[in-house]
């Protein structure tokens, strides 16, 4: 059973959400501020964190920054609707996805499922892909460049995997969204672009300045063979 940690300062909301999520077949725990959340995370391992941005003590952005210092675990941010700045900052810091708040619990659970499904190594998954210096190991969800491990978040790994599997071909943003995030691209969605820019930065740094991923005008992204 997947363990999910809900960090949100709205106690009533979080209790109801926990009830809903538990009934959907997960095991949910709660914390009501960022610091408490970090403590819970240290004490136990979780498969996914749902993190509210607006919180007292330690806000969601800072909490995410702290989580990312030690872990690449999947994180979904709950952002106030229309607050684009928070959303972009959250994604840039390595959140896997965001859900505008308020949202229906159905929506949230769908996102949780999509992220978890793709965050886990799958039995029927293809074997290790090796492309020049790049080695992608889907079973372990690990990436190496010339033998040096590359630290990617779950969503970043998914994106790179989708691109590398289709190396040399252009993959549209819609396709990337569906395959890597498990959902169709929403209107005005910058999600893919933010994640891609992060993947490129990490990859370019590892490859010593070499540009491996290309933006194709109006079409999408391409991993250069």
């Amino acid at each position: 059973m997947d363990k999910i940690l809900l960090i949100d300062d709205d106690v009533e909301l979080v209790e109801m959400l926990k009830e809903y999520i538990d009934l959907e077949g997960f095991s949910a725990s709660t914390a009501h501020d960022g610091e408490a959340g970090l403590q819970v995370l240290q004490a136990d391992t979780y498969d996914l964190v749902v993190l509210d941005v607006m919180m007292p003590k330690l806000n969601g952005i800072d909490t995410l920054r702290r989580i990312r210092q030690t872990s690449n675990m999947p994180v979904i941010m709950l952002t106030a609707k229309g607050d684009d700045a928070d959303r972009i900052v959250g994604l840039e810091l390595g959140a896997d996805d965001y859900v505008p708040k308020p949202c229906t619990p159905r929506e949230l659970v769908a996102r949780i499922r999509a992220i978890l499904r793709r965050a886990k190594p799958q039995a029927n998954q293809a074997k290790t892909i090796t492309l020049n210096e790049l080695t992608l190991m889907p079973e372990q969800r690990r990436v190496e460049w010339s033998g040096v491990p590359l630290v990617l978040t779950s969503t970043e790994f998914n994106l790179l995997e989708v691109l590398v599997e289709r190396a040399g071909n252009v993959v549209s943003k819609q396709m990337l969204s569906e395959l890597a995030l498990g959902r169709p691209m929403a209107k005005f969605d910058r999600n893919i672009d933010v994640h891609m820019s992060s993947v490129r930065q990490k990859l370019t740094a590892a490859a010593g300045g070499k540009q491996l991923i290309q933006t194709v005008y109006r079409l999408g992204y391409q991993y250069l063979k």
Binding site: D10, E19, D84, F188
Partner: protein, 464 residues
């Protein structure tokens, strides 16, 4: 320099010039009389003494003594005293100085405050006027305030005070006009700035040190603007706060609905029995989502209006952005057979926060699709204006347009054109679009195009 400046300037200049002229004329009249007197006789104190001595001699010792005294004086190098009787004949039979005759002597005597002339009855039965001939005519002055006056200006000299007066009054008029028109100009700038939305405009700083009614007007303006700014801020803050606070109960409401639905679907029996309840629940959920959207739009609007979040601008390919929107709008229009036409002509790049701008244009485009009749076309065009480096984007529908006074109203929150029947949306789309476009230094206007429909025009600055 504004009109007011020149009005002040000309007014003060003419006033001062007139004053100078009047005063110099008046002085001229007085001077003239004195000058005449001075020219005919000598009125200086030594001359007066001479006249007094002669008069005393005549009164005490008689005409003979005066005659011998004048004879002695005749040989002295000094202005000569004349004794002229009523027949106009000098006692020593000398020619009279120029201009002296019976009439002028009578006139001089009548106006003889300075006692430079005496009229004495002598012991020979005649009456004598005693006066001293004028000194040599004074030459024109050669120095003025220590500076040598050039020869050709010498004879202009009587006009000199007038010229100097005119120049000085010119200078003073200019200064005075500047003194009055400058603060008014500053006030005008402040008003214009405030009217264009900059409520940080203040005149107190530029009018520092001034203490008069204009400065009072300036500080009254400052007070007014800061009050208005406060009111607007608190209103925006309130709206932001209200929308924000509405979200928490909404979020809980949505989860509560989710929970009920979850539980009712898990026990099939209950679901069957309560099908009506289930329908109502769906309705409640839909409405809460709608309310959530509305609150979200309100938050977006208030955030844009207050300008709390800085724009994250980047270089945006406008054609790419538009094509995406046109595809979506076309997809939505399929049901009513509405097409959106757009033919990109050239590359257009602008500095913008892409998602916001996309949203703004999307709102306008959707609005057009919403109000255009079935089986019609919405036309989107772009054109570059090279002169002011901007792109002019138009969205034209085939609807009925709006009335003239609604052309501005449609960009206000919650405004709905009267012509529409059933409307979806919350009446915030165009207001948000306007805010976004204006925060990108652009403008948006609407106009009715005869026989075609409503046209919305967006102007945005372009970059190379």
């Amino acid at each position: 320099m504004g009109r007011l400046y020149w009005k002040f300037f000309l007014f003060f200049f003419f006033a001062q010039l007139t004053a100078v002229l009047v005063v110099s004329l008046a002085i001229g009249v007085v001077n003239d009389k004195r000058e005449r007197e001075r020219r005919l006789i000598d009125a200086a104190p030594p001359a007066k003494t001479m006249v007094f001595a002669a008069a005393s001699t005549l009164k005490i010792s008689g005409i003979a003594s005066l005659k011998s005294m004048l004879t002695i004086w005749l040989s002295e190098p000094m202005p000569q005293l004349y004794a002229v009787n009523e027949d106009g004949i000098d006692l020593l039979k000398r020619d009279l100085p120029k201009g002296i005759n019976k009439e002028s002597l009578t006139a001089l005597t009548a106006d003889n405050e300075s006692r430079a002339i005496e009229h004495v009855r002598a012991n020979d039965g005649h009456q004598y006027w005693l006066f001293v001939e004028p000194r040599n005519k004074r030459p024109p002055p050669t120095y003025f305030n220590g500076a040598k006056i050039p020869n050709n200006l010498k004879y202009l000299f009587p006009a000199m005070p007038l010229i100097v007066g005119a120049l000085v009054s010119l200078l003073f008029a200019a200064m005075l006009a500047w003194y009055f028109s400058k603060p008014i100009k500053q006030l005008r700038f402040a008003f214009e700035s405030a009217a264009s939305g900059n409520l940080d405009a203040r005149v107190g700083t530029v009018m520092q040190g001034r203490r008069d009614e204009l400065a009072d007007l300036g500080s009254a303006f400052d007070v007014m603007v800061s009050r208005v700014s406060q009111l607007i801020q608190s209103q925006t803050h309130l709206m932001h706060q209200v929308s924000h606070e509405l979200r928490s109960p909404l979020a809980r409401l949505q989860i509560a609905i989710g929970l009920i639905k979850q539980q009712s679907t898990q026990s099939d029996a209950a679901h069957q029995v309560n099908e009506k309840i289930s329908t109502s629940l769906n309705r409640i959920e839909t409405e809460s989502v709608r309310m959530d959207h509305l609150v979200g739009e309100l938050l977006t609007l208030s955030r844009l209006e207050s300008g709390v979040t800085a724009l994250q601008k980047e270089r945006v390919d406008l054609n790419e952005l538009l094509q995406e929107l046109v595809e979506d709008a076309n997809f939505e229009g399929i049901a009513n057979n509405i097409k959106v036409e757009y033919a990109p002509i050239e590359n257009i790049y602008i500095e913008a926060q892409a998602d916001l701008l996309q949203r703004a244009i999307d709102n306008i485009l959707r609005n057009a699709v919403k109000y255009t009749p079935e089986n019609t076309v919405v036309v989107l065009t772009t054109a570059i204006n090279q002169i002011n480096k901007s792109v002019v984007l138009t969205v034209k529908d085939a609807g009925n347009g709006v009335t003239e006074n609604e052309l501005e109203e449609i960009f206000k929150p919650f405004y709905r054109a009267n012509t529409s029947e059933a409307t979806r949306g919350y009446g915030l789309g165009l207001a948000i679009a306007k805010q976004i476009i204006e925060s990108h230094a652009g403008t948006v206007t609407a106009e009715n195009i005869a026989n075609t429909g409503l046209q919305v025009t967006i102007v945005l600055p372009v970059i190379e």
